[in-house]
Symmetry: D2
Subunit: 152 residues, 4 copies
């Protein structure tokens, strides 16, 4: 196994504040590995909702999660404030690959801060009825492009 290097805080222009919860910790007293994916889900969807490019109830086009992954470097624990960085690694015609990283609050402030966990998340956009891939809608694409260039 080759292990990736932790991504630096400086490589993320968007951070989603994420206070931990009691139940995030498992019996070992640290945030359970599963919970990081809940942070990712929340950060990506909160961003899209805040930008007005995700309509959960009525959109014709829905984003299916087709692949996720995460590498864990150092533990986090409740109670602790985390920041979840979101960036766009690849933007295709119908799909987007996000890269996500979790920073502990103290470290997130430092210039040299690196991720305690990092991963990816791939959405493919499909027609709600046919479930066939469709082009990413223009308004969503504009948001993803600004996220990709770090303008967001």
């Amino acid at each position: 196994m080759t292990r990736p290097q932790p991504w630096p805080r400086q490589s993320f222009s968007y951070l989603h504040p994420t206070p931990t919860r009691w139940a995030d910790n498992d019996v070992y007293g640290h945030v359970n590995n599963v919970t990081y994916y809940a942070y990712f889900d929340t950060a990506v969807n909160a961003l899209l909702l805040a930008r007005g490019v995700l309509d959960i109830q009525a959109g014709d086009t829905i984003g299916l999660v087709v692949e996720t992954g995460c590498t864990f470097f150092a533990p986090a624990s409740f109670p602790e404030l985390l920041h979840v960085g979101v960036r766009v690694a690849t933007l295709g015609k119908s799909s987007v690959r996000y890269e996500l990283a979790v920073f502990r609050a103290d470290e997130a402030e430092g210039e040299d801060a690196v991720a305690c966990a990092q991963g990816h998340f791939v959405h493919v956009y499909v027609d709600r009825d046919t479930r066939r891939p469709v082009p990413i809608p223009a308004d969503l694409r504009a948001v993803l492009e600004s996220l990709q260039t770090g303008e967001l």
Copy 2:
């Protein structure tokens, strides 16, 4: 069934900020009833940890949850910031009954704000080994008393 009245925001001196998460919503698009109890658990334990009166790993005395309950008045949803009020209703020799209420962020600011859900949570303190009730430790009692009088 007699339904209680929603508690006013003004009756809580301590509020724990609680951003919702994607998975808090169930299939109906609102925060699931179970999730409110996770908010309660987090608010109470975060408060005790912040005050230095809860040692999860090594305390001789542990608080067992013996009873909880919640009444639901109005829905909340992700994405939304909630505030969870915590107060002490009854403080016994070995037990404490908390009252908790969930306020939506907008409403939490208003003078007339009332809870969208409210409930209670009873801890009995026991010896870690014998599991027999013991008096609430003095430092914890001091925090609970200040919470009860609204000084906290």
Copy 3:
């Protein structure tokens, strides 16, 4: 506080098998108090779905959870198989009050088995659009009545 007595296994005609999961345990190594409500939610809804009287996506009438509560007697832990008993305590025109109890698998087999946790769950049925209470639909009422009489 007066503590209720644990309900006997014999007072439930319907039991929903519930294998515990890793994340059900919290840092103290036992099933977290919040998780019991997730067991309740699952047991009630699985029963209604299995009987064909709950249409999550398209029903005109939806059941709102207006009140829940739980009393905890003894711990359970992952890995362990639990059984969740469901019965109907009160059946009104628009509302139903379920009583639920959690039995550990070994104990659930014994004649003298009693609940390690027990609680209640109140559904009020409302019109999906107006959110005003409506009579419980006839097919659902028939299932609830058979549950109430122990015929189910």
Copy 4:
């Protein structure tokens, strides 16, 4: 992106039965992507506990999750019984890479059944105190080897 092929049911000798729960479904009415990792965590740990090679409270050696990933092919939903296949892909001196796959109950019975989701999970064993990698204990290694050869 090259997408992997779904693994066949026949390639797993060990399956962990996993009934879905109400809260496994997200607002789209299908099991949320995060929940699959909770299934993986439960299946692996249940297996190790059942074989007596995991002591959560007192083991000198603990398994840290350093990497996980999942690919999603087809939705699953509550209420539904799933089976989670567990196998060992790579067994190193201090680490083990599991491969996991989720099968819907109907399909799990069929000879041609394939996974609706599949992924991996890497444990590195470390000393509880120093957190330095240590050799996988002999009793655990024996279980992992029998899992690898399909004898388990």
